[in-house]
């Protein structure tokens, strides 16, 4: 297996085979996992503290954002260090709609998705000409510039400038016996389930296959009649849609948006989450979300002054120990167990 992983580092297509199915093709295993996760997810907000419920809600939100990035990087082979920009656009769209137009929070999500799709698609057009490190560079500049654009004075009437916008926390509808945190948890859970279901369906469709074909071999895919440019720009748009909807959810849950929450640090955190979870494995996004939310806290609990250093060290260790993320790690364990059984 170690040989396989090394091989995987050199041949992305092999890596994908290992990583996208770390649990294998065993259906019963999958169904068992599914039932377990479903039960835990429903029971969780009733047995834990309010703050923990909030944290798990944030994990799901980050997972949606990371899934967006995964669609772009893992399945289409384009980099982005700029997804904080789309997260910010989604968050601001939701906040402005709720604050200025008084629209219900539920309807801000599709609007945020559409707005982000347009922005993502438009950014995807120049990105067509860029590859690898160049695309990382352009998107890096995008996310460095984002807070400044949000603070821009002509937009201040809408964005609230440096102060940002404060929004109200929604109550549970239909008189459900849930407090606000619990309701937001279930709301996010439903959205997350829909988003992940749509993503895995899309990847199994003609569109998804075209996306992956472009990643594996752009020339071959073009000669098979795939319109590379259109698909790549559209993928950028879809990826931005996911991240933007995550941003809108984030704004609703945190009840606050401000320019300095959407710096390059957030972009980096999303990318790190993607790599930690496993590039090209959809459920990896949840592990990424856990990492993004909890590891900085762990680092801080080790040492307050040096928390950044410990965060960096944990990151380095992960790259060395699990170069293919949680996905590769699970695949490795499964192979070991199977070999012993056989």
């Amino acid at each position: 297996m170690s040989v396989n992983l090394e091989e995987a580092a050199e041949h992305p297509a092999v890596a994908v085979d290992i990583e996208t199915r770390p649990l294998g093709r065993d259906r019963t295993l999958k169904i068992l996992f599914g039932i377990l996760i479903f039960v835990v997810a429903i029971a969780l907000p009733f047995v834990t503290k309010s703050f923990f419920v909030f944290q798990v809600t944030m994990v799901m939100i980050y997972a949606i954002a990371i899934l967006g990035l995964n669609l772009l990087t893992g399945f289409n082979g384009q980099f982005s260090l700029g997804h904080a920009a789309f997260y910010a656009i989604g968050a601001y769209t939701a906040a402005i709609l709720m604050d200025k137009a008084g629209i219900s929070y539920v309807w801000t999500l599709p609007v945020a998705g559409i707005v982000c799709f347009v922005f993502g698609f438009l950014f995807g057009l120049p990105a067509l000409r860029l590859e690898g490190i160049y695309l990382a560079l352009a998107t890096f500049a995008l996310s460095v510039a984002t807070p400044q654009i949000l603070k821009l004075s002509p937009l201040e009437h809408w964005t609230g400038g440096v102060q940002g916008i404060v929004i109200m926390k929604p109550d549970a509808p239909f008189g459900l016996p849930l407090n606000q945190d619990q309701w937001l948890y279930f709301f996010t859970l439903i959205v997350t389930a829909i988003m992940f279901w749509m993503a895995s369906n899309m990847l199994r469709s003609r569109t998804g296959r075209a996306m992956m074909a472009i990643r594996d071999n752009p020339i071959a895919s073009r000669s098979m009649g795939v319109n590379n440019s259109l698909y790549k720009a559209t993928t950028f748009g879809i990826s931005a849609t996911y991240t933007g909807i995550a941003g809108a959810l984030g704004a609703i849950v945190v009840q606050f948006v401000a320019p300095d929450s959407f710096t390059v640090v957030l972009s980096i955190a999303l990318l790190v989450g993607l790599v930690v979870g496993g590039v090209g494995w959809i459920p990896g996004a949840f592990f990424g979300g856990l990492f993004v939310l909890f590891v900085p806290n762990i680092a801080e609990s080790i040492s307050k002054g040096l928390s950044g250093a410990f965060y960096g060290l944990i990151l380095m260790l992960l790259v060395f120990i699990m170069p293919t993320g949680v996905a590769g790690f699970l695949a490795l364990i499964r192979h070991k167990v199977l070999r012993r059984g056989a």
């Binding site: 090394e6 580092a9 050199e10 992305p12 890596a15 990087t73 980099f79 260090l81 120049p126 000409r129 860029l130 690898g132 490190i133 160049y134 990382a136 560079l137 352009a138 890096f140 500049a141 995008l142 460095v144 510039a145 400044q148 654009i149 603070k151 821009l152 004075s153 002509p154 020339i219 390059v264 980096i268 990318l271 790190v272 790599v275 590039v279 002054g305 040096l306 928390s307 950044g308 250093a309 410990f310 965060y311 960096g312 060290l313 990151l315 380095m316 790259v319 060395f320 170069p323």
Partner: protein, 292 residues
Amino acid sequence: MELFVQQVIAGISTGSIYACVALAIVMIYVAIGHLNFAQGEMAMFSTFIAWQLITWGVPYWVAFFLTIAISFVAGIVIERVIFKPLDNAPILSHVVMFIALLTIITSAAGFIWDFSIKTFPSPFGSAPLFGSSLISAHQAGMMVVTLILLLALFFFFRYTRVGLALRASADNPVSARLVGIRVSWMIALGWGLATAIGAVAGMMVAPVVFLEPNMMLGILTYGFAGAVLGGLSSPGGAVLGGFIVGVVENLAGTFIPVIGGELKLTIALCIIILVLVLKPGGLFGRATIQRV
């Protein structure tokens, strides 16, 4: 018109900052084919070392060269310890590693020297040059240093065996190894040189922007813009690109309303995207041609 000339000159002097940083970026790109996102923070750390030495009473120029030497060694050590084991890892692992390096360095600098803003001395003094208010002696000195650095690099790459070996191993690692060049050490050497140049850039920038752990993020972005504009594989182009970015930034800030001080980083973003889309090789870089 006078305002225009004034702003152009002011732009050139800020441009020399970007030129310095762009040079370090190009150096590492030529050596390893990646952009080092931790470059700015590494330069910041070197500058703190220089500051510490000067605070301990070491004369400026001794501290200057000592810092360059320390940075050179540190760059090689970082490559040997962290990046050599990742030789064949996918590009994403490298990017994550750069990010890890960045957070470690920033956090360590903040821990050792705290986050308060410090002044950094200039060897050239801060008096206006020739009594004119357009450009200060330090900015003029910074330009001279950048040009000396550029010239030294040119001679190094053009007329020394090591420079040639470095270029060869970047261009075609397999063939370079076959003619007896130690490619892996050449990469380490590239890291050392890039870190040393970054140290020079940091020490030149610090008197202007003041010393603190986050001083380089904005400057690094402009440095990227300069390097991309000039062509990532061309040191001379990077320096020119840095100057152009400085001038464009200043002119846009003065003559286009709204942009002013608020949107300066957006200019860097626009420059990067425009150049990459219209002329991906930059002004002086080679266009990369892929064999299929």
